[in-house]
C-alpha cells in the first residue's frame, strides 16, 4: 500500500499550503495597507486532546491542487463579498502539540467587515478545503479524525494499528 500523501505535490501551487511553521505576522503584514487598518485574524493551534484522548502527534495530509484551488476560491469569495484583503495558510505534514495548523488574516477599513470575512474564511476552509488529520494517541493507536461524527470513529473501531 502506498503511504498517504503528507507531502506537497511537485509542480502544484503552494500559495495556501506550507510544510513550514506558520508565522501569523507574515499574513497580517501581507494584508495590511494604509487604507486597511482593521485586521482580524484566526489561528488554529494543535491541541493535546481529542474526544477525551491524549494526542501525542498528528499529521495533516491534503489533496494539494484542490486545496490550493478551493482556498483561492474562498479568499476570492470573501474579497468580493466584503471590501477586504484575505490571507490564509494551512500547514501540512507532521505537527506537534502547540503548532499552528492554520492561520487566516483579513484586513479592511472597518472592524465589522474584517471580523465577518475572517469568520467566513475559517468556516469555509474547514468545510471545503480537502485536508485530513491523522492523530496518534498516547496508547499507540492512530486514527483519522472525522469532525462530522464526534467520537464515532472510536465506537466504529476505525482505529488502526500503526
Amino acid at each position: 500500500m502506498k503511504s498517504p500523501c503528507f507531502r506537497l505535490w511537485q509542480g502544484a501551487d503552494v500559495t495556501f499550503l506550507t510544510t513550514a511553521p506558520i508565522q501569523l505576522q507574515l499574513l497580517t503584514d501581507a494584508v495590511t495597507a494604509p487604507e486597511r487598518g482593521a485586521v482580524a485574524s484566526f489561528l488554529g493551534v494543535v491541541r493535546d486532546h481529542h474526544d477525551g484522548r491524549n494526542v501525542l502527534a498528528l499529521t495533516y495530509s491534503c489533496y494539494h491542487p484542490m486545496a490550493e484551488a478551493v482556498s483561492r476560491d474562498i479568499a476570492s469569495e470573501a474579497e468580493i463579498r466584503w471590501p477586504v484583503k484575505v490571507a490564509l495558510l494551512h500547514r501540512v505534514g507532521a505537527l506537534v502539540i502547540g503548532d499552528v495548523a492554520v492561520a487566516v488574516a483579513v484586513a479592511g477599513s472597518h472592524r465589522d467587515e474584517a471580523f465577518l470575512a475572517c469568520r467566513y474564511v475559517i468556516e469555509e476552509l474547514k468545510g471545503r478545503v480537502p485536508i485530513w488529520k491523522r492523530e496518534t494517541y498516547a496508547d499507540g493507536t492512530v486514527h483519522w479524525v472525522d469532525p462530522t461524527s464526534p467520537g464515532a470513529e472510536l465506537r466504529e473501531a476505525e482505529v488502526v494499528d500503526r
Binding site: 502506498k2 498517504p4 474547514k126 468545510g127 478545503v129 472525522d146
Partner: protein, 88 residues
C-alpha cells in the same frame, strides 16, 4: 483525444486519507466507457475490495472542485473521493 494506439480513455480516480487505506491505493484508472456521472465513479470504487466501507455520503470532487453525484464526468477528468474533511 488520445493518439491512436494509446491506452483506452480513462477517468483518473484519486483516493485520500482513510479511503486510500481502505483501498490500498491512492490512484485508480477507471475505463471511461459508459461512465457518465461522479456518482457512478463512487459506486464503481465502492464495489472494489475494501470499497464497501467508503461511506455512502463520501464527498466527491471533479477536476479540483466539489461536485454532486450527478455531475457529468468523461475521459480525462480527475475524480476524487474525499473522506470527511478535517482541516483547520
Amino acid at each position: 483525444m488520445p493518439p491512436p494506439g494509446s491506452k483506452p480513455p480513462t477517468i483518473r480516480v484519486l483516493l485520500f486519507a482513510r479511503y486510500a487505506e481502505l483501498l490500498g491505493t491512492e490512484q485508480l484508472d477507471l475505463p471511461a466507457t459508459g461512465v457518465e456521472t461522479a456518482g457512478q465513479v463512487l459506486e464503481w470504487v465502492r464495489a472494489l475490495p475494501g470499497g464497501a466501507r467508503i461511506a455512502d455520503g463520501a464527498l466527491v470532487a471533479v477536476n479540483l472542485r466539489h461536485a454532486s453525484r450527478s455531475a457529468p464526468v468523461a475521459a480525462g477528468d480527475e475524480v476524487a473521493l474525499l473522506p470527511p474533511l478535517a482541516g483547520g
